[in-house]
Amino acid sequence: MDIVVCIKRVPAFGAQVPLTDDGSAVDTRHLGFTIGPHEECAVEEAVRLTAKYGGRVTVLTVGPQDAGEQLRYALAMGAHQGVLVDTGTTELDPEATATAVLAGLADEPDPDLLLFGDASADAGHGQVGVRVALARGLPVVGGITGLDAENGSTDGNGDAAGNGAVSLRASRDTPDGTEVFRLPVPAVVAVKEGLNLPRYPTLPGRLKAKKAALRTVACDPEPGGLHTVGLRRPADDRAGAIPLGRGADAAPAVVDVLAELGKV
């Protein structure tokens, strides 16, 4: 089972989000970068599935050259190859990002499974996976927190290619319970954190990934209809915290508050 995983380079901020003076973007001068937890789970799942069923994992990112850092992280987790679609920026609208992903896929052999995060960690549109699926005529489900391949027939909808693993069992949590889908491959699946517990890359893994060659594809997609004007921090009208004391001595004050709230 050959799998492509799409990952996005996003700033890793802590307690505050610094913005550029004109509010056009997150000020990343003093920030590190990462991939979102949903996508980390997607990479982990792909590595596990190929370990079980064979095949290769390709990680693909759309962004500036620096996004190679995130591809290498995924390679260190066990992915086999990386594709960087160089658009100079990650700040594209979802239509343009989907176009760029498709450009990166164009020269790859057709994968059996395309994995996405359910939503990117910064922009959070929740759209790119669905748009790519539609463009490639593939079935797609999102919000998935349980995934496995199953052998056997797929109600005649899928072609029974692949090495025996011809359908996917994908489940997700809804407000009322769990929904299970059975999809033929090839398919697109967007996953959420909780799917698995991603591994930490090993040192040898990191060293190997550092030297790996990445395939770079240049792309300058047409902008779509959603145009970002600027970013703001929401107003925070919380007053500072009221101190209730230190250590065990604070217990009576805490229980006073609990009593006032009617909780004890």
Binding site: V26, P37, G194, A241, K263
Partner: protein, 353 residues
Amino acid sequence: MQLVVVADAAVVPELPAVARSVAGRDEAVEAVTFAGVEVPAGDLARELGGHGVARLHVVRHELLDDYAPEAWGSALATLIDRLGPSGVLAPATHRGTEILTHAAARAGLPLATNCVRLTADDASGHGGAGDGTWRLTRTRSGGVLLEDAELTAPVRLATVAAAVETPQVPLQAADCEVVESAVDVPPELARTRVAERVASETGLSLSTAPVVVSGGRGVGGADGFVVLEELAERLGGVVGCSRVATNNGWRPHRDQVGLTGTKIAADLYIACGISGATQHWVGCMDSAVILAINTDPEAPMMQRATYAVEGDVHEVVPAVLAEIRRRGGAAAAAGSDRSAAEESEPAAAPPVG
């Protein structure tokens, strides 16, 4: 026309008002729902009529009788093509977002998700053939940031968050007419029908519990959560955690509060040994009262909380439990003292004089 999508078992009341506010002067607000939505169309129509919606389109096809994201999205794209609205709004729920994303991709239209404010650039210019523009604000990173954006398209599509600014527009109650609409759905879309459904256990869940007692790195390990469990139980709540607790395998992911976990709005959130990174904060910030327990008074959670206790969770939480027991005991004792006193009162009351 502006079209409001009813994707779930309830009408989101803010949607018709937002639709009205972005509608051109002569534009009607209509609604669409699917045969598989469990509430009878008549009930939905009555409710929508109260919000000034004049017509409810019910799309029908055998593939729409149960939830199937691709089929529902495809049917919606067909209806958008048929009715030619200038705007379509869906609630930013699980389903609302999923269906509108599928419809947008199929119709080749842009989409703005998670909007908390929407205005039409020029309300009088709608209805024509050209592109129109909405100015909008959407949330990013779970609400850490707001993004101001423009959406320009022949049909503007957006999902609207529950926290949307509801515009004050006059709405006249209408008799909402139900119109059945048969649509074609490509048969291969049966591939993403829900194949199986497991109902969740009823009872307190992280997203609905009135009290959440949450632990982070400061709890130190899975064992450290035992006292948090006890406190949660005492307070009629459940245990939550930070991503560090999940990643260390101390708690299952379903307990995680935050951007990539669950977003909660409890009466009371108790954050034990959690620093308050933005990605955690967005998950708990809608709680009414937040109590932070942390050894570091400078931790962001200690600054942003309602109440702060500086100290080691391993000392503070057991002390709070002991105090609750002591007072409970005292109250019980006081209660039994009182009844004992009452019983003995006649005898104990010394004759006056």
